[in-house]
């Protein structure tokens, strides 16, 4: 339980930021496209759809980016299990 009831109440009154059905549809559409591309073996948006068996390739790409000074979120997500992003 939160100790400061008044602040909790105030912050709980922050108005909603809607996650619209239209946005959800757009995301699902893109995910389905990615899944379809993966079945056809073609890369999507420059990244091959990967399963656990291809995570080694993802990590190798990330190492290259880190060496090159890159710092994108995909790479930080690749090390998520250690919470060391």
């Amino acid at each position: 339980m939160r100790q400061d009831d008044d602040l909790e109440r105030k912050l709980s009154q922050l108005s909603q930021v809607p996650f619209s059905e239209d946005l959800q549809r757009r995301i699902l559409y893109q995910a389905l496209e990615m899944a379809r591309n993966s079945r056809q073996g073609s890369p999507s948006h420059g990244h091959a759809w990967h399963t656990a068996s291809s995570s080694v390739a993802i990590l190798a790409r990330c190492r290259g980016r880190i060496r090159g000074g890159g710092n994108d979120g995909v790479c930080r997500m690749a090390v998520w299990p250690t919470w060391s992003h």
Partner: protein, 178 residues
């Protein structure tokens, strides 16, 4: 083997849909907390869920999905705030001027958010206090989960919560500008 892969993709899409139903509002709310712009928050939420979808195999079943998604959201939002495009955007002194005169559900949302006094107060807080206050009070994450999500220590979370509460209380009670 190939059939397994197809089944996996379809199952992943179903997972994605369930995650969006369960956590979509949390993700876009946190994104908005960072960028103070509904359209950017939508872009970030889209990016977050597609990244989670692409990396689903690695993370399914590990810890709290909500905490994981909110951590990705925080990272993506901060990346955006650091980006050249965001830092070089011309800041409009009156955001309402950007609201279209044509009424649509989206313009209504933008107008409601821009006019919301409580949001305006929260946006006066420094980002490091704003993020922990929203994650703790609004998203109801534990201090430990907040520390993990933001990559900081639990002690830092406690300190920021304390200072953030002080500043927010002052703003809410006195209407001071920080």
């Amino acid at each position: 083997m190939e059939e397994d892969k197809h089944a996996s993709s379809e199952a992943d899409v179903r997972f994605l849909e369930e995650w969006m139903n369960a956590f979509g509002a949390d993700v876009i709310h946190l994104a908005y907390t960072y960028v103070n712009n509904y359209h950017l928050a939508q872009d970030i939420a889209q990016d977050v869920f597609l990244r989670a979808f692409k990396n689903m195999d690695q993370y399914r079943g590990e810890g709290s999905v909500k905490t994981w998604l909110l951590a990705i959201t925080a990272n993506r939002a901060k990346d955006h705030l650091r980006s050249w495009a965001f830092r070089h955007e011309l800041q409009d002194p009156d955001p309402l001027e950007n609201v279209s005169s044509v009424e649509t559900p989206e313009t209504q949302v933008v107008e409601r958010l821009v006019r919301d006094e409580l949001w305006r107060t929260v946006f006066q807080l420094p980002l490091k206090y704003r993020e922990v206050l929203v994650l703790y009070y609004r998203q109801e994450l534990s201090q430990r989960d907040i520390a993990q999500a933001l990559g900081i220590t639990e002690e830092s979370v406690r300190t920021r919560l304390h200072r953030g509460r002080q500043q927010l209380r002052k703003l809410l009670e006195g209407g001071d500008t920080l």
